[in-house]
Subunit: 335 residues, 2 copies
């Protein structure tokens, strides 16, 4: 089942079913007004949503054209956004930038509490108040959860994954050091993240959802240039089930919690530009660290106003089940 | 106006108006089903809520008995919980514990993103999964906001404060070091916070709300023993308006954001037990640091199962406008 949240003028948007080919959609508001409500009552509404999805895909309902630029974030305001860092290659590259390399053998799943009250639709501008904040994208896979009890069993973690999508964890690199120096973690450096226009149930991914990992490539482009397409199932040291268990170690998680797997990264020695079958990077700071490691000039610039970022997960069958994140950077100094 | 959220079996509870003396209440669900909904539509519902409040206080409506133990957190699940640290005395004492004292002249408002999806009612147990996590309370004042634009003006910040209450930012001290070592900020060390049974509009506090600060004492007790009663307006280096501006530096804040002012702390040389007119501490780790600084044994223990914590803001007129947080620690190893 594929779902989206359409802009209907409300804070939470309107729940819609999207066809498998992402061409058509139909409102599901008669079943649940919005996605949070559906997640709150998942077992009660699932079969009705599933039946509506079948009708749309079988052509029993014509539906209307699905316009991704009208989609809000699946949960425009969520009760929780937890971003983990399951690809240790990313962590190691970024930490090398700060000179704080740790022994990867000692790693455990780490995660931060992100702001979740203003999440961005797939084609919404990244608005920055200044153009010198070293704006970066981070391409990730994220899951949306049902209720998770404290300290969940393997089965409880496994059964908690309701939906899967991709996201852009927007980062202001110039503010990271200040945030971390305070010792209180990311805050100002992590403004609103953006999410895929479509979220899908794990079964929709069939063999491309395996053991708590999504199987395929996460492509990111800046101004049309391919920056990265690392494999999402490769070197994901902690799968989503393990991340759920880690996140719920001391607390329950409520339905609608969004959990990111962290910036997708595979080990390699490339620098930008990469060839069409290269691996590349899911964020700019890694590309810059690779340049430094190769004794090259750190020439890949951070994002500036009017730059365009695209993030799209693609299966080995060439499908993009979550649609595409396509954002433009805009400078908005006024409040 | 005084408001509370009553348990009606739903995730968000039922909005109720509470009388000025906290003795009676009446459902406001005909106006707004819950507090989040009221905050979403504040300007539309304010006069109706205010009129209902007047009727309750004037005796035109009998209402029913207000039972604080039946109150949920004002927002049982909130879209955001930001906890700042505006009392630098607390920060300095706690940092001394970690040997990382900074020059207070260099301080700016610092804050962390807290988990907001499972907030506790005023009399709900603090459930821990193990008894060796160095469980601590932190007594704070918190405000609940309306929508705040990115980079707000002074006036926008001033007008954003909708409600005021007190809270207990539950902390697992043994897990703090691990969280901070990861560099991603507090996570496992900060399980669900608890809030006062009653939230009030700033005007309700009259002269006890001054220049973005609450005026009075925040009393905390452990097993009936007075641990602290520092003045809330004293040494609050950044007022709530400044904290709002700092929090919204790179992002909007949505209606229903809860913003904590941090553990209330005043400078003094006392150690526990304090006299009835002493100042004391709003958390145990500070009491322990004071013992260390006085070359005394660090004898104030962290909280253990069956311990009771009480937190209550009291005005100089002897009133407790937010009611009382009264929690018991319970050990719940099973998930």
């Amino acid at each position: 089942m594929k779902l989206a949240t359409l802009d209907n003028g409300t804070r939470d948007g309107q729940l819609a079913i999207v066809s498998k080919n992402l061409k058509r959609c139909t409102s599901a508001s008669a079943i649940s007004p919005n996605l949070q409500s559906a997640l709150d009552n998942w077992s009660d509404v699932y079969s009705a949503l599933d039946a509506l999805s079948r009708k749309l895909n079988d052509g029993d309902i014509a539906g209307k054209s699905f316009e991704p630029h009208l989609a809000l974030a699946p949960l425009p305001r969520a009760y929780q956004w937890i971003d983990a860092s399951a690809y240790l290659t990313h962590l190691q590259r970024v930490r090398a930038a700060k000179g704080s390399l740790q022994d990867p053998q000692n790693e455990k799943p780490i995660m931060y509490q992100g702001g979740s009250d203003h999440l961005l639709g797939a084609e919404k501008d990244i608005e920055v108040t200044a153009d010198d904040l070293a704006l970066d994208y981070e391409a990730e896979i994220a899951v949306i959860l049902g209720d998770v009890p404290k300290n969940p069993t393997d089965d409880e973690a496994r059964n908690a994954v309701r939906l899967v999508t991709q996201c852009n964890d927007v980062s202001l690199r110039r503010l990271v050091a200040g945030d971390l120096q305070d010792g209180f973690g990311f805050f100002h450096s992590k403004p609103a993240s953006a999410f895929g226009p479509v979220v899908v149930t794990p079964d929709e991914l069939a063999a491309n959802w395996q053991a708590g990992r999504v199987v395929g490539r996460l492509q990111s482009r800046v101004n049309g240039l391919l920056y990265g397409q690392p494999r999402t199932e490769k070197e994901m040291v902690f799968d989503f089930y393990q991340l759920i268990q880690a996140a719920a170690q001391t607390r329950q998680l409520s339905a609608g919690t969004i959990l990111g797997g962290g910036t997708v990264a595979n080990t390699h020695d490339e620098i930008l530009p990469i060839s069409s079958d290269g691996t590349g990077f899911s964020c700019i700071v890694e590309a810059r660290m690779a340049e430094k490691a190769a004794d090259a000039e750190q020439r890949t610039p951070f994002l500036k106003p009017d730059d365009k970022v695209s993030i799209q997960f693609v299966t080995d069958e060439g499908e993009a089940p979550f649609g595409e994140i396509k954002q433009k950077v805009s400078l908005n100094k006024a409040n």
